[in-house]
């Protein structure tokens, strides 16, 4: 267990430093709060609008595209460094891996990950079966709908 002594000492030192810093700033620093100082962010413009709470859920697909290519690049870099030693084996493995990524990408695109425009209306807004008979409402002689 001796080899873990250093880790333990570091943990204790870290905790001590944090505790000391907080106590010292509490004790030594003058406390003159103003409204501006108590604001969550002391710099920048004071926001006068609520931040937009909702954003289109389809952005999760963009995030997924980002992640699949991100992961591919993460693996491509070390692969490229030792490519000359991996030779044909490395090439074959990376082609298989890239194929899996392409399948994921094709699946995402087919599910509309890149269709960012307003959704196309499939159904016409006005029904073609509409006639004057259906549109106009006949009122009974009393003048009020039943």
């Amino acid at each position: 267990m001796e080899q873990y002594l250093g880790v333990f000492v570091l943990i204790v030192l870290g905790a001590l430093f944090a505790a000391l810093s907080f106590t010292a700033s509490r004790l030594l620093g003058p406390s003159k709060p103003t409204v501006a100082k108590r604001a969550p962010y002391e710099c920048g413009i004071v926001p006068n609008l609520e931040p937009v709470q909702r954003f289109p859920v389809r952005f999760y697909l963009v995030a997924m595209i980002f992640i699949i290519f991100d992961i591919e690049v993460v693996f491509l870099y070390p692969w490229a460094v030792i490519y000359s030693q991996l030779r044909l084996f490395g090439l074959a493995e990376m082609v298989v891996f890239a194929a899996a990524v392409v399948v994921a990408f094709a699946y995402l695109v087919s599910n509309g990950a890149l269709d960012w425009g307003p959704r196309k209306r499939i159904q016409p807004t006005v029904s073609y079966e509409r006639t004057a008979e259906t549109t106009l409402r006949r009122l009974p002689p009393g003048g009020r709908a039943a």
Partner: protein, 539 residues
């Protein structure tokens, strides 16, 4: 940074040894590409494709089983252990995958889903489970664990229109990620103590070295047990399982309760029995306590539930206690009892949740005990199959459940753990009460009072007519007193009257297979028993 000169030692990869995993990973890829290129067609093609892939994976497992014989070997530079144990479990996972696809088909038809996602994720999850069972390295165990679990998190959330499904997925995800982290830490500590993550090398290191101050090693072992204890839902790491089982779509629950548990037990066998077999005296007490707690808590809490899916969740916790009791004995009898129990339990639990999926109806809403009343008069065959499966889980004679419990108890007795054997038998009696309560309900009379009220309540109300119906052309005053019922309401009340919903084709097949296997293999036990013994003979 200097690049290492010369060629790297490239491992020889025997693709035939990992064929079941490759099939289970490749098939979803093909399916996703297929779904990206064609738009027409319902869920039937995905089901057919998944069943074909399952059969292929099963045949590949059989091929490995036959080929490996009694000479296990390692593949992919020691990362994969090819032996009859891994082939046995790959076969179980392939069967579970196919049964899941059939259940998912009925679910997709009912919920009007036509995408390939559910069966594709199921196959990916099964491939991770196969990897866990065949892992020859702790890192590969972790890899399989994550492949399996991440797919399961998504599958739990598959019912997007139901809030409980999302809640189940989030709970499962948070606790699952937490347990994975603990497991990973356990791997790190084990590596720190033994200098390797390879299971065979850990075993040989521990056999040839006496670790004097083994605090790090024991901490690592404890964390590995905790991480896998979460996956098999052993008490006290079970808290997620009732909520998750209840909230997930029923086919997913069936798959999760069968595959995730079996894979967790397989990994426990690999880690505790193979890698740390020499530390038996250190881990046996821990597993003993987990087994007793799971048997007691699972058994008692089963009885007080009213939601059948929650009940099955608690009863599967008690099943986990049985398997842990087999693991605890750390003997050849215990290992074969474990393999047998896992195989028998897989079929029984998938069949039971198949019934739950049918009774639950759209959105898995009606899971209360009262929904199961009179099931046998509505669907005699389903009621009969469910009775068999429940009796099997209770451990009634002439079922696989009886033999499974018998072998576990005899393994515990053979090890000298008499108290554990008594607790296991008492827990079996307590849970039998719950199973018999359902069975009595199945053959009881139907209760007329459902939460929604009888169909007669749907008397159309004038206010509704005003809002739903178009301005009625009630010319004159001929219908002044009577209320005109809009067609929407008529249709709604008509479907309310027809309570007897059709049993889906997939559910029927699954139920027939599971119930038949439970009885036939219980009456004629030697085939599965011999397989289970042969699967665990080499360690």
């Amino acid at each position: 940074m200097a690049v290492i000169a010369g060629a790297l030692a490239i491992p020889h990869i025997s693709y035939i040894s990992i064929l079941p995993e490759l099939i289970a990973m490749g098939a979803p890829m093909v399916m996703l590409l297929w779904s990206a290129t064609t738009r027409s067609g319902g869920p039937g093609r995905w089901t057919a494709f998944t069943v074909v892939a399952s059969v292929a994976a099963f045949l590949a497992s059989v091929e490995i089983w036959v080929k490996v014989g009694t000479h296990p070997y390692t593949a992919v530079a020691g990362a994969i252990l090819v032996d009859r144990f891994s082939a046995f479990l790959s076969g179980i996972f392939a069967v579970a995958m196919g049964l899941f696809a059939l259940l998912a088909h009925d679910w997709a038809v009912r919920e009007d889903e036509s995408g390939p996602e559910l069966p594709a994720l199921g196959m990916l999850s099964a491939s991770g489970a196969m990897l866990m069972a065949a892992a020859g390295d702790l890192v590969v165990v972790f890899l399989g664990l994550e492949i399996m679990s991440i797919a399961l998190y998504v599958m739990a959330a598959m019912n997007r229109r139901r809030l409980a499904s999302g809640e189940a997925a989030l709970k499962y995800f948070v606790l699952g990620a937490f347990s994975s982290a603990i497991f990973l830490y356990g791997i790190a500590l084990t590596y720190g103590a033994t200098g390797t993550t390879n299971i065979a090398r850990i075993a040989s290191y521990l056999a040839s070295n006496v670790v004097v101050s083994n605090g790090v090693l024991l901490a690592g072992m404890a964390m590995l047990i905790v991480g896998l204890g979460f996956k098999v839902a052993a008490v006290p790491f079970h808290t997620w399982s009732p909520d998750v089982y209840q909230g997930s779509p029923s086919p997913v629950t069936a798959f999760m309760s069968a595959v995730a548990k079996a894979a967790g037990f397989a990994a426990l066998v690999r880690v505790l029995m193979e890698a740390m077999g020499t530390l038996r005296l250190d881990w046996q007490p821990a597993i003993y306590v987990l087994a007793v707690l799971s048997l007691v808590v699972g058994g008692i809490l089963t009885v007080v539930q009213r939601d059948v899916k929650r009940m099955l969740a608690y009863s599967s916790i008690s099943h986990a206690g049985f398997v842990l009791a087999a693991l605890q004995s750390a003997s050849a009898a215990g290992r074969s009892a474990l393999a047998y129990y896992v195989a028998a339990y897989t079929l029984m639990i998938i069949g039971s949740f198949a019934v739950a999926g049918h009774v639950g109806g759209p959105g898995d809403r009606s899971q209360d005990l009262s929904s199961y009343r009179g099931l046998s008069s509505r669907h005699p065959a389903v009621g009969f199959a469910f009775t068999i499966l429940l009796l099997g889980q209770a451990g009634a004679p002439f079922t696989t459940g009886f033999l499974a419990k018998f072998y576990v108890v005899s393994a515990a007795v053979g090890n000298g753990s008499y108290t554990l054997a008594v607790v296991a038998m008492l827990s079996a009696v307590v849970t039998a009460f719950f199973y018999l309560r359902i069975v009595l309900g199945l053959y009881g009379s139907e209760e007329p009072s459902t939460p929604e009220g009888p169909p007669g309540v749907l008397e159309p109300q004038p206010a509704l007519v005003g809002s739903v119906g178009e301005p009625q052309a009630s010319h004159g005053a001929e219908e002044r007193g009577s209320v005109v019922v809009p067609e929407v309401l008529v249709a709604a009340s008509a479907t309310q009257v027809i309570e007897v919903s059709e049993v889906g084709a997939g559910t029927s097949v699954v139920l027939a297979l599971c119930a038949a296997a439970t009885v036939v293999l219980g009456v004629w036990p030697s085939p599965l028993l011999d397989l289970a013994k042969a699967a665990t003979i080499i360690f």
